[in-house]
C-alpha cells in the first residue's frame, strides 16, 4: 500500500508515493538512491542510519516513511553545497576519522546537530553527543578530534 507524502528532502520539495510499510531509511536508500545512511542494527542502537529530521538527529530506521508528510529531512548527501564539502566532512577526511566508513554518514549527521546546538563542545560533551553512534574501527579518538577541528573551523568562518 502506498500513500502520497510531501516533504522536504535535502532542501527540495518532494512529492512521493511512499510504500507504507517502509522505514524512512529504506525509502531514502531504495526510492531516492540516497545510500549514505546505513542500516546497522535496525533497532536504534548503532546510529549508522542517523539523519536530521526537522532540525534534530533521528534514527531513520525507526521512522515510518508515512510519518514524513510535512516534514524536512537532511541526509549526508544534502550536507555538501554545490560540490563543496561541509567543514565536518573535510575534518573527517583530514583527521582520518574513518576506516571502513560505514558509521561515518551517521556520525557526521549527529555531529552536525551537536555543533549547531553547542558550537564549542568539550571532549566529554562530544563523547556524550556521539554516544548513540557506534564505530567498530577507529576507537573514536580521531572522530572526536575531527569534530573538535570542525568546531574550530565553523567558529573561524563565523568570525
Amino acid at each position: 500500500m502506498k500513500q502520497l507524502i510531501n516533504f522536504k528532502l535535502n532542501g527540495e520539495e518532494v512529492e512521493h508515493y511512499a510504500p507504507l510499510n517502509r522505514t524512512l531509511l529504506k525509502m531514502l536508500r531504495e526510492d531516492f538512491d540516497l545510500t549514505g545512511a546505513k542500516e546497522g542494527c535496525g533497532a536504534g542502537e548503532c546510529g549508522a542510519c542517523t539523519v536530521i529530521m526537522d532540525g534534530v538527529a533521528v534514527n531513520s530506521c525507526l521512522v515510518l516513511a508515512a510519518e514524513l508528510d510535512g516534514r524536512e529531512v537532511t541526509t549526508i548527501e544534502g550536507l555538501s553545497m554545490d560540490g563543496k564539502l561541509d567543514p565536518l566532512q573535510v575534518a573527517f577526511v583530514n583527521e582520518a576519522a574513518l576506516q571502513c566508513g560505514y558509521c561515518t554518514p551517521g556520525m557526521i549527521m549527529t555531529a552536525k546537530v551537536l555543533l549547531k546546538n553547542n558550537p564549542q563542545p568539550s571532549e566529554d560533551e562530544i563523547k556524550e553527543g556521539i554516544s548513540g553512534n557506534l564505530c567498530r574501527c577507529t576507537g573514536y579518538k580521531k572522530i572526536i578530534e575531527a569534530i573538535q577541528s570542525a568546531a574550530d573551523k565553523y567558529q573561524a568562518e563565523n568570525e
Binding site: 500500500m1 536504534g44 515510518l64 549527529t110 553527543g129
Partner: protein, 278 residues
C-alpha cells in the same frame, strides 16, 4: 514489516473513533519501541494511528498549581525545557538517561510509561512526584495516579481505546530528589537498577525500577524514614528494609543477588546525598 493502513488524526476524538473502528490498530507516538517490535514481527498491527501531531498532546505547561507534560512530549523536550531542568533536575536526569540523543528526540515520556517496562527510567522520578496519568477514551477523560497505573510487566490500567493525553504533578511535590541509574554502559543502555529518592519536609519518597514486575514505591522504607534524622544507622536500616521489599529477577543484565545489593547501596548513597545537601 507487514502492510498496514496509516492514519494521522488531528483530534483526540478522531483518534478514539479510529481505535474503536480498528481493534488491531497500534498507536504510534515516538515509535522507538513500536517500530522495533513491528520490524521484528512481534507486533503486526492492521492500522497505525499516529498521535504525535494531535495539538492536545503537545507542550509542557508550568503553572503555579500543576506541571503538565503533554502526551507527545519527547525526552529531549523535557530536559531541554529551561524551567523543568531548573525545578526538576532528577526528572531531567532520568529522561536524559534513556537511549541515545537520536532516541530521545523521538521517544516520549508517555510512551515510556505506557510501555510499562519494569525498568522504565522516567517512572521512578514521576512516582516520587506522585504524578497522575491523564487519559481520554470513549467514556471521556480519566485521571489515574501513576502509583496505580502499572499493573504488571507491560500491563497498565489503560483501556484498549484510551489515549494518554499527558502527565501532571504538583510543582511543590518534592523539596529535593536524586535519580540514580545503574547500567553496564553509561550511555545507550537499559537500567540494571534505577531509582529516585525524594524528600518533602520530613517525608521521603522512594521508587525503584528493574527490581519488581513494575516500577514501584517502597512504602515500608518511606514509613520507616518518616521524620527520622538520616544518621548512618538509619540509612543502613532503610537499605536493609528496601532489600526485603523488592523482588528482582536474574536476567541478561544482572543477577538477582547483585540487584538486591545494589538496591541497598543505591538507597544508602541517595539518602546520604539528600542528607549532605539538606
Amino acid at each position: 514489516m507487514e502492510n498496514f493502513v496509516y492514519y494521522k488524526p488531528q483530534t483526540l476524538k478522531e483518534c478514539v473513533s479510529l481505535l474503536e473502528e480498528h481493534p488491531d490498530a497500534a498507536l504510534l507516538n515516538g515509535g522507538t519501541d513500536l517500530i522495533i517490535q513491528m520490524r521484528e514481527g512481534l507486533r503486526i498491527p492492521t492500522d497505525i494511528i499516529d498521535i504525535k501531531n494531535i495539538p492536545d498532546l503537545q507542550g509542557i505547561k508550568v503553572g503555579p498549581d500543576e506541571i503538565f507534560i503533554g502526551g507527545a512530549v519527547t525526552m529531549s523536550q523535557v530536559y531541554d525545557h529551561p524551567e523543568l531542568s531548573k525545578l526538576f533536575p532528577y526528572l531531567c536526569d532520568a529522561a536524559r538517561s534513556v537511549g541515545s540523543i537520536q532516541i530521545r528526540n523521538r521517544a516520549t515520556i508517555a510512551g515510556n510509561l505506557v510501555n510499562a517496562s519494569p525498568l522504565a527510567d522516567t517512572a521512578t522520578p514521576l512516582l516520587c512526584l506522585e504524578a497522575v496519568i491523564h487519559t481520554y477514551g470513549p467514556n471521556g477523560t480519566r485521571e489515574i495516579p501513576l502509583n496505580e497505573f502499572f499493573v504488571f510487566v507491560r500491563k497498565t490500567l489503560l483501556e484498549p481505546n484510551e489515549v494518554v493525553t499527558g502527565i501532571s504533578f504538583k510543582p511543590d511535590a518534592l523539596d529535593k530528589a536524586v535519580f540514580t541509574k545503574l547500567s553496564r554502559r553509561n550511555e545507550v543502555d537499559l537500567s540494571t537498577v534505577c531509582c529516585s529518592v525524594g524528600r518533602k519536609g520530613g517525608e521521603y519518597r522512594i521508587a525503584f525500577g528493574s527490581v519488581a514486575p513494575t516500577p514501584l514505591r517502597l512504602l515500608d522504607v518511606e514509613a520507616y524514614l518518616k521524620d527520622k534524622e538520616l544518621t548512618d544507622d538509619v540509612r543502613r536500616e532503610a537499605a536493609e528494609i528496601a532489600r526485603g521489599t523488592v523482588s528482582p529477577i536474574s536476567d541478561v543484565r544482572a543477577s538477582k543477588e547483585y540487584r538486591l545489593d545494589m538496591v541497598a547501596n543505591i538507597l544508602e548513597d541517595a539518602l546520604a546525598i539528600l542528607q549532605k545537601e539538606g
